[in-house]
Every structure is written in C-alpha cells, then in structure tokens.
Symmetry: C2
Subunit: 376 residues, 2 copies
C-alpha cells in the first residue's frame, strides 16, 4: 500500500503580463520586496536567479551539452513513469492479498467475529507491563469510585465487560491522528462514532483509488457508505517533464450525503444584522452558510473541466490539503489502523495531544452587513 507517490500540490504557475526584464541581484531583490512576496519566496527567487546566471555565464557549447543532459533526463523520466505504473500494479495486486486480513479486522472491530485464543497471542510483546498497568488503573478507578460514594455522587458506570467488538475504534483513531482530529468538529463526533470501517479500492487503469467510509445505520443520514474517489496520473507533465516525481493525485470526487431532516452538520444558520443604507433602519436576517465539518470532505471544490485553467488560490489550497488527507488515509490509516488506535504507531506529527488547541468551534456567527436596498 505504500510507495512514495506524492499528493499533487494543485498549484499552477501564475503568468505575469509584464515583460521579462533582465535585473541584477540587488535590483531583483528590491523588485521582489515591492511585489509583496514572503522572505522564503524571495530567497527562492534569488537563488533561482543566481543558478540561472551561473548557467548563462557558461560558454555556448557547454550550455548545449547541458541541454543534451536535460534531453536524457526527460528520457529517464519517461522510463521512470513506467516503473511507477508497475509499482502501482503491484499495489493493486497486494491490495487483494491484504483484503482478507482487513475484512477480519472489520469483523473483530464490529464484534461479528470473536478471535480464538491462538489469534490473541502477540509473542513479540511483553504483556506483563500492560497487565500491571491494567490492575493499577482498575484499583485507581475503584478508589475513585469509593471516594465519590462518600461524596454521595454516583460513580460513572464502568464499561460493560460484555461489550461487543472494539467500541469507538475508528472514532479513537480520528481523535489520535491530528490530521483527522482537526477536521472533526464536536457536532461530527456522534456521527464518527457510527463509523465501522474504512476501505480502499484501488484502480489500475486509469490509476486511482476510492476510500469507502462504512457507517452503522444512524440518525444523521441514510447512506451506509460514503465514498471519496481520487484520480491519479503517472506521466511527466508536458510543460515540466523534469519535475516528474511519480504518481500524483490530480482530482477527486465526493458523494452526496442524504442528510435526515435538520441533521446536516455541514450547514449552519447565521444571523446577520442588515442596516438600510439611507433610512438607517436595522433588521435581522438568517442565512445558511457552510459549517466546519469533517463531512465537507465529501464535497470537495469542483475541479474545472479544462485541466489547463488556473484555479483560485484558495481553491488550490483546499484541494492540496484534501489530496494530502486522501493520500494519508489510504497510506497510513487503513493499513495501520490498530497502531493508530493504540497509539503505538503514531508519529510525532500524528499526535497532537500537546499541540495548542485551536479556538473551539462556534456554531453561531453574527455581523453587520450594509445593504443598499432591502424590502421591509
């Protein structure tokens, strides 16, 4: 399930209408500062310029040979793209081999299958520490329960020892993995608790994959499966063939969620005060706007039909982030779910227990809007 295929950055070059001027390093810096770019962008631009000047100062016959090396590099990229297609085909083949394991995992998580004793032995692990910790935690809970009794408060009911499967398996993964946790809002949590499995379907030609989110019947929507489809390409770009680095996600498609009445967490109602421009009277209107929610993942920005058209930069940023999430779920979450559940397999980046919390989500918004005319 893993090769280094990159998530596309969905950026496209911004072409400037200005004519190219030949500027020296100092002039270039001044020119760049005026154009309001960041320090890092400026450093990159100056570095590129210095490299270009170094190349330009070479004798023409040497520059000619460098062009010949670029031609070879293009041939290299063409062969490399075939390598990556073969790797992708291997991934499709292995996905079929992983399937029985992932199916069994889903059955253990849901409680449909109870593993036998032999299946529950991890010979490489020292269980004694966990057992000791379990006893300590249990004793602490009992002590706390007794204290609470003294205070006449009811102790929280202990988890039912006859519980089926592994409760909140995927929900816990969402909580543990920072990329997913950041997407999940408070109002999403009861829905994510109904998430029973995430599956990947790989496609060989054209290359791509679909993520399937399987849900228990729930109070929020009638779908049992939500899907997100990613299309990939594995060909050097015609205009920048030497930048080829392997397969890339280039577009994605969500699915329609059939929300039950009043349950759509992806919209919120905001109240706005509108002031009449001439009369000065104020009225309050309610508007439906998009609310933060993990489920916006299934309604990504529309891709333009013309692949050469440029996207607005905020749309580009949204798509880049979306491709990263899709790639990450396929690459790390589905294949290593139990390790993200227990915390054993969390990278430093996955785990945001100690990151600063973002401002908590607020469902109500308000503001004053000035309108030039409005019926009373």
């Amino acid at each position: 399930m893993t090769t280094n295929e990159r998530t596309g950055d969905a950026t496209s070059e911004v072409e400037s209408g200005e004519e190219e001027e030949v500027l020296g390093g100092g002039e270039l810096a001044a020119h760049l500062i005026k154009s309001g770019i960041t320090r890092n962008e400026m450093i990159a631009a100056i570095t590129n310029r210095l490299h270009a000047e170094a190349m330009a100062s070479l004798p023409p016959n040497v520059r000619r040979r460098i062009r010949a090396l670029r031609t070879l590099q293009k041939e290299f990229a063409d062969i490399e793209s075939k390598f990556y297609l073969e790797v992708h085909a291997l991934e499709c083949k292995y996905e079929r081999m992983y399937k029985p394991l992932l199916e069994k995992r889903a059955q253990i998580v849901s409680g449909a299958y109870e593993p036998n004793d032999a299946e529950c032995v991890n010979p490489w692990r020292d269980e004694s520490e966990e057992e000791e910790l379990a006893r300590a935690v249990q004793n602490a809970a009992i002590a706390e329960g007794e204290e609470k009794k003294e205070e006449k408060e009811p102790a929280e009911p202990p988890m039912d020892p006859n519980v089926k499967g592994i409760p909140d398996f995927w929900y816990t993964i969402f909580k543990n993995v920072s990329m997913l946790c950041e997407m999940m809002q408070e109002h999403d949590e009861p829905i994510i608790k109904c998430l029973q499995d995430i599956k990947v379907q790989m496609f060989e030609d054209p290359i791509g994959f679909t993520l399937e989110f399987h849900f228990l019947p729930n109070d929020y929507f009638t779908n049992t499966v939500l899907t997100k489809e990613y299309s990939m390409k594995c060909k050097p770009d015609e205009e920048n063939p030497l930048e080829f680095e392997g397969p890339e996600i280039y577009s994605c498609k969500g699915c329609e969620i059939n929300w039950k009445k009043g349950k759509n967490v992806t919209v919120k109602t905001i109240k706005k005060k509108q002031k009449h421009k001439s009369r000065g009277s104020v009225r309050t209107v309610t508007k439906s706007v998009q609310a933060d929610s993990f489920f916006n993942f299934f309604a990504p920005p529309q891709m333009p039909d013309d692949p050469n058209s440029t996207l607005a930069s905020d749309t580009q940023a949204l798509l880049t982030a979306d491709f990263e999430v899709g790639h990450y779920i396929r690459e790390r979450v589905v294949s290593r779910a139990v390790l993200l559940y227990t915390g054993e397999g969390l990278d430093e980046d996955d785990d945001d227990d100690y990151e600063e919390e973002e401002d908590s989500y607020s469902d109500e918004d308000s503001g004053t809007e000035e309108v030039s005319d409005a019926e009373d």
Copy 2:
C-alpha cells in the same frame, strides 16, 4: 530508482537495569525531568504513557481483541515485506534500463561524446530567457573587463570556448546540494573536481547497493574508483514486527583509499603542549588525528559482528547520518544529477546558499595535555 525505503536509524533500545515502576502522570513527569531527557522526549514518553493507560483501562475482552488485531497487523507486515521485495526487484530491473542513459550522460560530461543537434533540443523549455541572460552576463563581463583594463589590471581569462565536456559537473553538484557541501572541506575540493561519475550498482539478493565514485587520475590517491557498499534488509524485526516500514539500510562498508605520500586529507597533525605532572616542564608533541573530510565517507564506523550488540550513541548517530547520505546519493543525486547541477531540481533543503556558514575548517589545533610521565 525511487521508492520510500527508509534509511535505518541505527538506533537500538537502551535497556535500563531498573525495575519498572507504575507511576502516575505527574510522578512520571518529575521522574523524567530528573533523568535529564529533552522536552520532546518527555512529551513523547508522557503521550505513550497516556495511550498505554487508555488501553489498560479497557475491559479484558476488548484488550484481547486488540491483541488479535495486532496479530493481523503482523501478518500484514509479512505480506508487505514481500511487496517491498518485489518493488526492489523492479528497481533492479529499471536500473538496467536507465544504464544506457546514465552512460551517455557520463560521456557527455567527460567530453568523450559530443551530442548532435537533435539531442540538444528541449522543446518544453523556453530558451529565449536563457539566451537573453547569457547576453546580459556577457556584456557585463566585457564591461567589467574594460573597466579593469583602465585600471591596468589583467582581466580574468574567459572560460575556454573549446572546453571539453562539462567542467566541474560533479563538483558543482557537491557545492549545490547542502548535504554534500557540508561534508566537503576546502582541502577536498581539488579532489572532488576530479570526480567524473557516480554510479549505482543494485543487488537483488541479498538486497543492497554499491555507490561507485569514479575519479580521473589525480595527485591524491591511486584508486580510480572509490566504493561504498550498503546492505539492506526487508523483513519485519522479530522484536518489533509492527514497526516495519519497508526496506532499511542496516550496514555499510567503505573501501581503502591508497593515498599518495603526504596527500591524505583525512588526517591532520596537531601540536599539543604536555606538562609534566611533577616537574612542571612543558614539551610539545605532534599527533595525527582524524581531519574533517568528505573522504571519511569511505571509512564509516565499524559495525559490530553481533547484530544484537548495542552501539555507542555517537557511533549510532554517525551511522544514521551515513545511511541518509548513501540513500540520498542513490535516490536523488545519481538519478537527477543535471537538475542538481543547474539548480532546477534543488529542494529548499538541498540549497544552502543562504544558510549560515559553519565555522571554517582549521587545520591546526592546539591544547595542553597533562601527562603523568614523559621521557625528556
């Protein structure tokens, strides 16, 4: 040439002789602070502990099912290791397909082959900008030359337009790529200027690769090829099978460099003042010690024969860095040399033009050493 195989970190767990104590979060933090670990290590330790406590607080039947999922995850890793072996076999196959291209590149670089016009066309590139820049650079050089003439100083001779191949091709790459530039000392530079090619030989069983550094006959050593051999493994570790992430470099072997007399840049002579403990007399002794040099790359720390023995932490750090360099040269440098030469293919991390320069290398060292006895 590219999959996500990782460079091993050559670390091994340090076993503590102390018995495990069950500590609460606060006690744990106090305990950890006393042991002098870094803040990040402490956060990681506490996070691990919180995850472990969360697991320990689950009912025994749920913990049993989690063990069953770990067993499945181990089976997953076993299948995955076969996937990575197949990918490695593909890499060996493609290495043979890349070979004619890389051979031709070497011939163009050395001047053994002069490309024809058709080979020097890069249809995806706009050459006009480069041409314009070349004219501007040339004019600036002429103007500078005239100015210098007026000052009666001789102008620097322009590069010979009849120059063979691409001079300083690999040396320029070493200069451009920060990882290599940091290893190259001033005294290494004239030797690296004799570097004519870097080749990779892949091995399928057991998996691994050798980097070959091909040199022109030079004043420094008699070898024409210096080699560095990397051995890889692609099997889940028996003690930590779930940490498997694909092929890993686990050991490397350098080669003997036959330095010409007085030309060994990897040793330096230092003068030390020694003070006689009782008599107080001072004498100066000279000692040969290892000098910083890229060529230490061919004399990596010895790996212990017993793979289970633990390495000193500084040796571990050296090997980890070495594996990263070897991996990087194979993965990025050999396959994309021209792009690192021109600067087109440099990542932000590759390019350290604007990083702070490290203290310049000093060849002489001095210090005072106290010895208990020394013949006069």
